[in-house]
C-alpha cells in the first residue's frame, strides 16, 4: 500500500501560560490519502483548528508544537527548516480560512494579492500570473473575472470573497487543501454553493482535502472519512458512512443524537433532545483517564484511570474507548 499523502503522528500542541501548560492538542494521529477528503469535527476547544494549523507550523505563540511528526510527501514538516517549509505553504499545501472578510487584505486589489503568491512561489511574470489568476477565478465560478482583478475585497459579497479565497488556495495546484470552517460565516444557500464548488474542484483537480468543521451536516456531505475530536484528542475515525450509521464512541453517538433534525417531526407530545450533560474539561489539567469520562453515560471506574489508545476495531474504523474495543494505558 502506498503511503498516505499526509500522516500526522502523535501531534502535541501546548500553550505555555502563566498558570501552566494547556494541552490543546494531546497526541493526535490521522492520515489523508491522495485525492481523499478527511473531515475533522469537534466543538470549540477540541483542538481541531490548532491541530490543522500545526501541520504547517502556523501555531501562534504562546503555543508550541511539543511532539509529533507530520509526514507529507515523504518528509517530516515539523523537522524542516523554516525556508523549506515556506516553499510548501501555499504551494503544496494551501489553506482556505473561515472568514473570507478578514483573510483577504483590504488594501490590495484581488489581482495584486493573488499575483503576489504566483510571483513568490512560481516566479511567474505579470502577464503569465494574470492569465493564471483569470483562469482560476473562472474555475471557481466568478463572473467577469477581468473586472474582479481590479476590485478590492470590500466591493465583493461574502460568497464571492470565499470563492476568491478558494481560487487563491488553488493558484499553485496544491496536493492538499486545508479548509477550516470554510462556510461557517456564510448564509445557508451560499454555503451550499461553496460546498458544491469544493466538491467539484476536488473531483476535477484530484486534490486531497482536510475539512475542519463543527457541522456534522457539512462533513456528511463532503468527507470520505471523518475524525471526531474531543478535548485535544481523537475519539473516533471511520468512513463517513460508518461514522453516521454505526458510530462506536459514546461522544460521537451523543453528538449525533443531540442535533435536531430537519427531517424529523417534533410536533405532538413534547420530545426533548438527548443531551450530553456538563461541558468539556479544561485542558490546563486535563483528567487523567479518558477526557470524556466525566460526561459519558457508559463510563466505568476504569475509564477515569486509563487513557484509551486509538485502536482499529474494524477495517478503516478506529476508536479510543476502552468500552468499545480500545486498548488503554494506565494513566
Amino acid at each position: 500500500m502506498a503511503p498516505p499523502l499526509l500522516s500526522v503522528e502523535g501531534l502535541q500542541v501546548q500553550f505555555h501560560t502563566r498558570d501552566g501548560i494547556v494541552r490543546a492538542v494531546d497526541g493526535v494521529d490521522y492520515s489523508v490519502g491522495r485525492g481523499e477528503t478527511l473531515g475533522i469535527v469537534g466543538e470549540s476547544g477540541s483542538g481541531k483548528t490548532v491541530s490543522s494549523l500545526a501541520l504547517l507550523r502556523l501555531v501562534p505563540p504562546p503555543a508550541r508544537i511539543a511532539a509529533g511528526r507530520v509526514m507529507f510527501e515523504g518528509e517530516d514538516l515539523l523537522a524542516k527548516p523554516e525556508r523549506e517549509l515556506g516553499a510548501i505553504r501555499g504551494r503544496r499545501i494551501a489553506m482556505v480560512f473561515q472568514n473570507p472578510a478578514t483573510s483577504l487584505n483590504p488594501i490590495y486589489s484581488i489581482g495584486s494579492q493573488l499575483g503576489e503568491i504566483l510571483r513568490w512561489h512560481e516566479k511567474l511574470d505579470r502577464a503569465a500570473a494574470e492569465a493564471r489568476i483569470l483562469s482560476l477565478l473562472d474555475l471557481v465560478g466568478i463572473t467577469d473575472p477581468a473586472t474582479r482583478l481590479r476590485q478590492y475585497p470590500h466591493e465583493l459579497s461574502g460568497g464571492m470573497k470565499q470563492r476568491i479565497g478558494i481560487a487563491r488556495a488553488l493558484l499553485c495546484n496544491p496536493a492538499l487543501l486545508l479548509a477550516d470552517e470554510p462556510t461557517t460565516a456564510l448564509d445557508v444557500t451560499i454555503q451550499a454553493q461553496i460546498l458544491d464548488l469544493l466538491a467539484d474542484l476536488r473531483q476535477r483537480l484530484g486534490m486531497a482535502m482536510v475539512l475542519v468543521t463543527h457541522d456534522m451536516g457539512v462533513v456528511a456531505r463532503m468527507a470520505d472519512r471523518i475524525t471526531v475530536m474531543y478535548a485535544g484528542r481523537v475519539c473516533e475515525t471511520a468512513s463517513a458512512a460508518t461514522l453516521f450509521s454505526a458510530p462506536r464512541h459514546p461522544y460521537t453517538r451523543a453528538l449525533l443524537e443531540s442535533m435536531p433534525r430537519i427531517d424529523h417531526r417534533y410536533t405532538g407530545p413534547r420530545q426533548l433532545l438527548p443531551t450530553i450533560a456538563g461541558r468539556p474539561p479544561g485542558l490546563l489539567n486535563p483528567p487523567a483517564g479518558c477526557r470524556f469520562a466525566a460526561r459519558c453515560p457508559e463510563a466505568m471506574a476504569e475509564c477515569r484511570t486509563t487513557l484509551p489508545v486509538e485502536t482499529v476495531v474494524a477495517p478503516g474504523h478506529s476508536v479510543s474507548c476502552i468500552r468499545h474495543g480500545s486498548q488503554g494505558i494506565a494513566a
Binding site: E43, S44, S157, G159, M160, D187, V188, T189, I190, Q191, A192, Q193, L195, D196, H214, D215, M216, G217, V218, A220, R221, A240, A241, F244, S245, A254, L255, L256, S258, M259, P260, R261, I262, D263, H264, R265, Y266, T267, R270, L272, L273, P274, T275, I276, R279
Partner: protein, 328 residues
C-alpha cells in the same frame, strides 16, 4: 379563531437613503428592511421566523418592541394596540407592556454587563418592574436561577466565570424575571456548540411547557426551528414569503425560496439522497430590490408576471399562507 396573543399587522420599517445636496438633503430611495409584514401568534405557541442575513427578521422583532421605530403598521399584544403606547412614552404603561413581552439576545457575551454579578443582572428587571415587591426579590432571583438550571449561589458570580451556555441561561432568566407571556428569542443558540445548543433548546421547550410561554424564535438554523416551532414564517428581502404550521412547511413548502432554503441544509446522513435546488446568485442588495416578486431573479419557476407584479400573501391551506404566482 380565538384572539391572538400577538398580532402584527402590515408592519414596515423603511430606512431613507439620503443624498446631500448643496443646501438640502434629498431622499433618493428607501431601503425596505421590513415590508408589510403580518402574522399572528397564539398563546403557548412558537413562531419560527427564518431567513438569511439581511432579510429583516431581527428588524421585525425589534420593531415589535419599538426598539427600532416602525415606519407603519400595528402591533397588538393581548388585544391592545401597543405602538401608540410606546410612542406616547408614559412610563408605567410602557413598563406594563414590557412585562408581557421580553427579549433574549443572540450574544450572551455582549448582552450581560461584565461588571455586574449575575444577581445584580437579575435584580435589574425586578428593580424596574417590581419596586414595591422588594422583599420578594431574593427568592425570585433564586427561583429564576433554578428555573434555568443554575444554582442560587451562581448569583454571586460574574459573567466571565460562565461558559457560553450558562450565560445564555442567565439571559433567559433575566427575560423571565417579570413573568412575561411572550419571549422574543433572537438566535439564542447560534453562538453555542452543538452539545450545549441541545441543552438550551430543551430548556426553552421545558420552560414553554411549564410556564405556558409563547415564543417568537428568530433563527437561520432550520433544524432548531423545526424542533422548537409550531409555525414557521419565511422572510426574503424584508417580505414574508411563506408561513405555515411547522410540519406542513417542511413537508410541502410552496415557495421556491423556502424549498431552496430547506434543500441547502446539509443533512447529517451521508446516504441521504438530497435533491438539491441550486440557487443561482446571491440575495440582491436591499437598495436594488427587484420589481415584482423579490425572489424572481433567482427563481427557476419565474413567469413573466413575477417580474411585474408582486404576489400577495394568500391562504393556500389550513394556516398556510404563500406569496407566489407559480407555486411548487
Amino acid at each position: 379563531m380565538s384572539a391572538a396573543l400577538l398580532e402584527v399587522e402590515n408592519l414596515s420599517k423603511h430606512y431613507p437613503v439620503l443624498r446631500r445636496g448643496i443646501l438640502l438633503q434629498r431622499q433618493t430611495a428607501a431601503i425596505r428592511a421590513v415590508d408589510d409584514v403580518s402574522f399572528r401568534l397564539q398563546a403557548g405557541e412558537t413562531l419560527g421566523l427564518v431567513g438569511e442575513s439581511g432579510c429583516g427578521k431581527t428588524t421585525t422583532a425589534r420593531a415589535i418592541l419599538n426598539l427600532v421605530t416602525p415606519s407603519s403598521g400595528a402591533v397588538r399584544f393581548e388585544g391592545r394596540d401597543i405602538l401608540p403606547v410606546f410612542r406616547k412614552g408614559e412610563r408605567s404603561e410602557v413598563l406594563g407592556i414590557r412585562r408581557g413581552l421580553q427579549y433574549v439576545f443572540q450574544d450572551p457575551y455582549l448582552s450581560l454587563n461584565p461588571r455586574w454579578t449575575i444577581g445584580e443582572t437579575l435584580r435589574e428587571p425586578l428593580r424596574i418592574h417590581w419596586p414595591e415587591r422588594e422583599a420578594e426579590w431574593p427568592t425570585r432571583i433564586d427561583a429564576l436561577l433554578r428555573m434555568v438550571g443554575l444554582e442560587p449561589q451562581h448569583a454571586w458570580r460574574y459573567p466571565h466565570e460562565f461558559s457560553g451556555g450558562q450565560r445564555q441561561r442567565v439571559g433567559i432568566a433575566r427575560a423571565l424575571a417579570v413573568e412575561p407571556r411572550l419571549l422574543i428569542l433572537d438566535e439564542p443558540v447560534s453562538s453555542l456548540d452543538i452539545s450545549v445548543r441541545a441543552q438550551i433548546l430543551n430548556l426553552l421547550a421545558e420552560l414553554q411547557d411549564g410556564l405556558g410561554l409563547a415564543y417568537l424564535y428568530i433563527s437561520h438554523d432550520l433544524s432548531s426551528v423545526r424542533f422548537i416551532s409550531t409555525h414557521v414564517a419565511v422572510m426574503y428581502l424584508g417580505k414574508l414569503v411563506e408561513m405555515a404550521p411547522v410540519d406542513a412547511l417542511f413537508a410541502a413548502a410552496g415557495h421556491h425560496y423556502t424549498r431552496a432554503l430547506l434543500s441547502a441544509i446539509p443533512v447529517p446522513d451521508p446516504g441521504a439522497a438530497q435533491s438539491r435546488i441550486h440557487l443561482q446568485g446571491e440575495v440582491p442588495s436591499a437598495l436594488r430590490r427587484p420589481t415584482g416578486c423579490p425572489f424572481h431573479p433567482r427563481c427557476a419557476a419565474a413567469l413573466p408576471v413575477c417580474r411585474s407584479e408582486e404576489p400577495a400573501l394568500i391562504d393556500i391551506g389550513p394556516g398556510h399562507r404563500l406569496a407566489c404566482h407559480n407555486p411548487a
